[in-house]
């Protein structure tokens, strides 16, 4: 097999250099397989006598124009390199999905049910302070955004949920969020209403759906 094929070009080289197309193939193979960028001198040394590596290199460089890899000059040497616009393929993003922290999901729930709502109001409802990081995280996820400023002293900023939020939770509007009595019916509310209050709540549900402000006042 390879014995003859290996010897042949060498013998040929005694007389004349291989055709340019062949030289181009050679440069291509050498640039591909060599562990470091290759200089013209090195190419000359490795290719059959009489070869013109500079010209072959130029042909090769043009052939790779616009391809996924490119024939690139690095100082005095040449190498094949990934096209710059495809560098992103050499990075593999591993996405790790984590559940939102309790603080974040509670803050989000309050904003969704009570929007527009100020930070002070959120803290009052949660009964604990809301860290800046939690708000930042929800804004970064594009689940909440700033609403209008409240027309009260200090003109505090309010928070509302975004379209992205509605998309994620498959809601048309924040009003579609189930009301308290529905939560209770679904077993999501542990505490039992005081006797007799159940009826009242069923009606109150109507009101809840209408205005979230009402719910907050409750």
């Amino acid at each position: 097999m390879s014995e003859e094929t290996r010897d042949e070009p060498q013998e040929q080289s005694l007389f004349e250099a291989p055709p340019m197309a062949e030289q181009e193939r050679m440069v291509e193979a050498i640039l591909f397989a060599t562990a470091e960028p290759v200089t013209i001198r090195e190419l000359t040394g490795r290719m059959p006598h009489g070869s013109e590596p500079r010209e072959a290199l130029e042909h090769l460089r043009r052939r790779y124009e616009g391809r996924g890899v490119q024939v690139t000059r690095i100082g005095e040497a040449w190498a094949i390199r990934t096209a710059p616009d495809l560098g992103f393929l050499m990075r593999q993003e591993v996405v790790e999905t984590r559940k939102l922290s309790r603080a974040a999901i509670e803050t989000l729930a309050i904003i969704a049910y009570h929007q527009p709502v100020t930070r002070a109001e959120i803290e009052e409802i949660r009964g604990v302070g809301v860290s800046r990081g939690t708000i930042d995280q929800l804004i970064e996820m594009d689940w909440i955004r700033f609403g209008r400023r409240r027309m009260t002293p200090g003109r505090p900023v309010t928070f509302v949920v975004t379209e992205t939020f509605l998309d994620h939770f498959a809601l048309e509007t924040a009003r579609d969020l189930p009301g308290l009595s529905e939560l209770r019916a679904a077993g999501l509310l542990d505490s039992r209403p005081p006797p007799g209050e159940g009826e009242e709540d069923a009606e109150g549900e109507e009101a809840t759906d209408e205005g979230q402000e009402d719910l907050f006042e409750e």
Binding site: A33, E96, T97, G129, A170, S191
Partner: protein
């Protein structure tokens, strides 16, 4: 790939080669290898081989080796015994009373084994003659590693959201007890206080100097403020915003901005 050991001189006679065959038992990889080698002297297709002649050659070989007091491995002798039995079966007319396979069946199987071994030898040679990686074909010289970037994506379901809300509303019915305490500095508060201040802490400074003024006199308030400020400082260390140190047990805790 030659089976027989390399002859020292190429011009020695066939007789010498045959002797070398007898003497050098080590050169063979077991009785089947020896049989294959002997069968080649018949110069026929392995399917046409005379097992009888082959058995005679093998037995003669074993006999000769014994005369020369060469130690023969047990499997050579087992093969010899088996071939002697096969030879007798092939020579004697078949006994209709006798159970078991006929001499022809046994001979055919031996021929099959030899042919198969020969075929594998040829295939091995063809395999090794292929263009090999690192000899005739080459892989990429300059490789690029794939960098693995970890990205955390937070998520929640509608159920999570509703449960969270339900949790808060349920809790509403009993007002949180801790929140009523006025002598309690929350970690969030301490963090809010510490965060803008650390920008100025280029040098090591005592953590206690960061307590809010109104919190350092009363011992109860001071305790709470110290604990929450310390917790807040650990949070900032975790974020990589500051460095923290303590010379020894009970020594002052010092912090400084991470440059």
């Amino acid at each position: 790939m030659s089976d027989s050991p390399e002859p020292v001189q190429l011009d020695v006679s066939a007789r010498l080669a045959a002797e070398a065959l007898i003497v050098d038992v080590e050169g063979f990889e077991g009785p089947l290898d020896l049989l294959l080698s002997l069968s080649r002297t018949q110069k026929v297709d392995l399917r046409e081989i005379s097992i009888l002649a082959l058995a005679r050659q093998y037995l003669a070989f074993v006999e000769k080796a014994r005369e020369l007091r060469i130690e023969l491995a047990a499997d050579y002798l087992v093969m010899a015994a088996w071939l002697a039995f096969l030879k007798s079966r092939l020579l004697l007319p078949p006994d209709p009373e006798e159970e078991g396979p006929s001499g022809e069946d046994l001979a055919a199987h031996l021929a099959f084994q030899l042919e198969r071994l020969e075929a594998m030898r040829r295939s091995a040679a063809r395999l090794m003659a292929r263009d090999q990686l690192g000899r005739d074909r080459f892989a990429r010289g300059i490789t690029e590693d794939v960098a693995r970037v970890r990205r955390v994506e937070y998520t929640a379901t509608l159920i999570d959201l509703m449960q969270a809300y339900a949790r808060i509303r349920t809790r509403d019915e009993f007002r949180p007890y801790a929140y009523d305490r006025t002598n309690l500095l929350s970690m969030e508060e301490a963090l809010d206080r510490l965060r803008p201040l650390i920008g100025f802490a280029g040098e090591w400074t005592d953590l206690m100097s960061y307590l809010p003024d109104s919190w350092s006199a009363d011992p109860a308030r001071r305790r709470s403020a110290a604990a929450s400020t310390f917790a807040a400082s650990l949070e900032l260390v975790k974020e990589g915003a500051i460095q923290i140190r303590q010379g020894e047990t009970f020594a002052p805790i010092q912090i400084r901005r991470k440059s």
